[in-house]
């Protein structure tokens, strides 16, 4: 079967570009821990909203999304903290997006999502719901307030 030599070159170039992308993604995963959210099996222990401080720079946030808020709505952590976010929904599907930190998860009833973030810089980080969840969707927003340990 004769395939045109230019079409062959196009195929080779395309496969090389794909290979480059795959390598780059694996490299970033290894060096910067960039990855998709972690998959956990359902457990109702994650359905109670709360914040656990494990030590001065390690926190667990159990976030519960519902129509039309996140609980907890304000999360205070010191600069340099590593935070594990566990996420579920009490009702419909919601989104959970902290844009400046690559946090992008869906909150789904009967399921648990998880991601880990290191907050190196102080500031107020919006948690935006970015999946339509009914008439109050555009008002659904929480915040992570990251400040120096001495400030309160």
């Amino acid at each position: 079967m004769k395939i045109d030599k230019f079409e062959k070159r196009v195929l080779i170039i395309t496969l090389s570009v794909i290979g480059l992308f795959i390598f780059s993604l694996l490299y970033a995963k290894n060096k910067y821990q960039t990855d998709l959210p972690e998959c956990l099996p359902y457990n109702k222990v994650y359905t109670e909203p709360r914040i656990n401080k494990l030590d001065s720079t390690t926190y667990q946030v159990f976030s519960v999304a519902s129509m039309w808020q996140f609980e907890p709505g304000e999360i205070y952590v010191p600069v340099g903290s590593e935070v594990d976010f566990y996420l579920t929904s009490k009702d419909v599907v919601h989104g959970f997006n902290i844009a400046q930190k690559n946090v992008n998860m869906m909150a789904v009833y009967g399921s648990i999502n998880k991601t880990t973030v290191k907050f190196d810089k102080p500031g107020v980080y919006d948690i935006v719901c970015h999946e339509y969840c009914g008439v109050g969707h555009q008002s659904m927003r929480a915040q992570v307030i990251v400040n120096y340990p001495t400030a309160k």
Binding site: F6, R9, V10, I13, V17, L20, F21, S24, A28, Y32, Q33, T34, Q100, K101, N102
Partner: protein, 41 residues
């Protein structure tokens, strides 16, 4: 209707150049978002 020549000469150099430009554009956009991802990690 012109008669079909036995061996019509046509080398798609322009299409190849366009394709390379398309690949370069893809790389620029892709690595742009990639560096944004790393910056935010």
């Amino acid at each position: 209707m012109e008669p079909q020549e036995k061996k019509e000469k046509f080398i798609p150099t322009g299409a190849m150049a366009f394709f390379i430009a398309l690949v370069v554009l893809s790389l620029l956009f892709w690595y742009g978002i990639y560096s944004l991802m790393i910056e935010r990690s």
